[in-house]
Amino acid sequence: MATIFGCEIPEDRYYYIERSQMTWVKVEDGRVTIGATDPAQARAGRILFLRVKPVGTVRERGRPIATVESGKWAGPIIAPIGGTINEVNTEAEKEPSLLNSDPYGRGWVARMTPSAPEELALLLSGEAALAKFREVIVRDQIHCDRNPP
């Protein structure tokens, strides 16, 4: 686990860092689990609303898989790679602040079966991911707090 200005970045996953997006992707048994990162949840503030597209939804890379709202941000969580949603975190839909308190664990958003696993190569990992996080965290002055206002 790397830590950048108090923001935790696990090293066992891929990252999609574009525009407002800072999502993680973890590959497990041919499926991918997707969630918001620590700096993403901190930048958004306390998450008040999460709605994930239903199971069975087919999404191309770059299309929304979920909608998130906090007091100061409303936006989509974008599919970092294309695929079919086959599991939705209904616990997080009922308790959206799980995205804040446990972004890499109970606050996961959706699981998908990738349609083109080679798209994982388009995501960042390792040092490249950490460098990009460092750039965004400094630029946006993000201070990670798992219990943001």
Binding site: R19, S20, R63, P64, T67, E69, G71, K72, G75, P76
Partner: protein, 134 residues
């Protein structure tokens, strides 16, 4: 601000269209951010969302104006304008209001804004599934 040409096209898989009509300008900052926030949220929900600015509302879209509108919860209106643009909200402004009420030139507005006339607005109202007025 991102290059507008690289912004996502407004999403439309729901097939639903919402038109929001905004008439209030910088004189009432408390009323300025909710339309942008609502529009950003709807666009994120893949509803094709258009904001139409008339009367004094186009002044919110003047280059450098949103930065100067402080919000009670902190920050400025710019955060919400950027959020709406990033989520793919379409920004339209009334040509007559810009010219006659706001005293602005088209080039004074943000590059993401498209200027249209009243007849086009009439078409948009009739084409929308819902019209919200602010």
């Amino acid at each position: 601000m991102s290059d507008p040409s690289s912004l996502p096209t407004p999403p439309d898989p729901t097939g639903k269209r919402v038109l929001m009509i905004i008439t209030t300008g910088p004189d009432e900052p408390d009323k300025s951010y909710a339309p942008f926030f609502t529009a950003a949220l709807m666009a994120a929900m893949e509803i094709e969302t258009t904001m139409f600015f008339m009367v004094h509302a186009p002044e919110l879209l003047k280059k450098g104006a949103a930065e100067k509108i402080p919000l009670k919860q902190g920050g400025s209106l710019k955060h919400f304008v950027d959020m709406a643009i990033e989520n793919g909200v379409r920004l339209l402004a009334c040509a007559e209001s810009i010219r006659d009420l706001c005293g602005l030139q088209p080039e004074d507005l943000l590059p993401e804004v498209k200027i249209i006339g009243a007849p086009t607005m009439a078409d948009l109202v009739l084409d929308a599934d819902a019209v919200l007025s602010f």
